[in-house]
Symmetry: C2
Subunit: 214 residues, 2 copies
């Protein structure tokens, strides 16, 4: 049952980068499962899913991560905190794993997937390791976009946390030998009524400056 | 009126990278306005909105862009085609423009925004021009994520087009001296009943491999 254009717009206008979360307001299990599933369902380039998402339940770890996040209170007070990490590179092994998985899920013989594999290897091989990392990070931001939109239509507040100290996050999450690197984080939960940012007019450039028709 | 977790999941599972669009099925004006507004409302780092979105109405231009997109039929057949472009760099001028706009919309004196400006200049100045371009491209992918999720909850199909020839797009869109570069494109509309990809099982890695709790 699709929602109406007006309803979508009301949800997206209601959304803002929440500064003060209600520490007592927890996202229900059902809604949280849907949030996690929205991460799993995010589309990615060639389907590669070059990411891993970390849900930080441990309050002590949240405290330590806050210290790597300019002490932004959202890291501690929001109902949930997700750290979105990207593969540092994309190796043949990653591509093989994906081709295998695709064949398994869709019942396609590996030989039939050889042209796809060749295309991915070609695309990926034309990049430097750093460019591949950037490619992967872009996919993670796509996941962040779907995550925040999914939360908004369910009436869940969020705050993207981009200016965090990623190497500090990597260390606290124990990512050193995992091949994943912190890209961005996102706090999710419910706003406090006192958060003055909720009432601030939404500041965007004029639509006519941002969107052109050709 | 928020949608339920089940309803969100049904929408996100219904979504897939549509290959065959119905060329006769057009997105209504209302729904398209909401799609454009969802682009405008996309959050971005520091609110900078380092992007411009191009809606390609001209069928001849669509034909030419298809030739820069491995002749994927979606470019021509979908109801709408959006090209998402990112600022090639982020200059002091861009930051000034944003600070000015923010002050104007929120009625904040420019002096009160000086600390924010200083922070953005510091953050941005620590990067090379190429890193700033990558930063901007990540924001554009966030917009793509919100765009596709917004479309899905309204029952609109989409197909992200990443493997396009970006320099060819830049030339056809006349971006040479605009300071914007093509990042990715997205076709939107309604699937044909005959698109076999709609019925293919959704292939993702196991949730347990992708999401960890700490």
């Amino acid at each position: 049952m699709p929602i109406s254009p007006d309803s979508l717009l009301a949800d997206l206008r209601w959304r803002y980068a929440t500064k003060q979360f209600d520490p007592t307001a927890k996202i229900s299990t059902d809604a949280w499962q849907a949030i996690e599933e929205s991460l799993v369902l995010t589309p990615s380039s060639f389907g590669l899913q070059p990411w891993k998402f970390w849900v930080i339940d441990d309050p002590e770890l949240r405290q330590k991560l806050a210290a790597q996040s300019w002490n932004q209170p959202q890291v501690i007070e929001a109902s949930h905190l997700v750290v979105l990490t990207a593969r540092a590179d994309l190796e043949l092994h990653d591509i093989d794993q994906w081709i295998q998985r695709l064949g398994q899920v869709q019942g396609t013989p590996e030989a039939a997937l050889a042209p796809l594999k060749k295309m991915i290897v070609g695309f990926s091989g034309a990049m430097t390791p750093e460019q591949r990392h950037d490619w992967n990070r872009r996919q993670v931001y796509l996941a962040l976009g779907q995550l925040m939109a999914a939360a908004a239509v369910m009436g869940i507040d969020s705050c993207p946390l981009e200016g965090i100290h990623a190497p500090g996050y990597d260390e606290l999450l124990g990512l050193q030998n995992t091949g994943y690197r912190t890209a961005v984080a996102c706090a999710l939960g419910y706003r406090l009524a006192t958060d003055k940012y909720a009432a601030a007019p939404k500041a965007r450039f004029e639509k006519s400056q941002m969107i052109a028709h050709l």
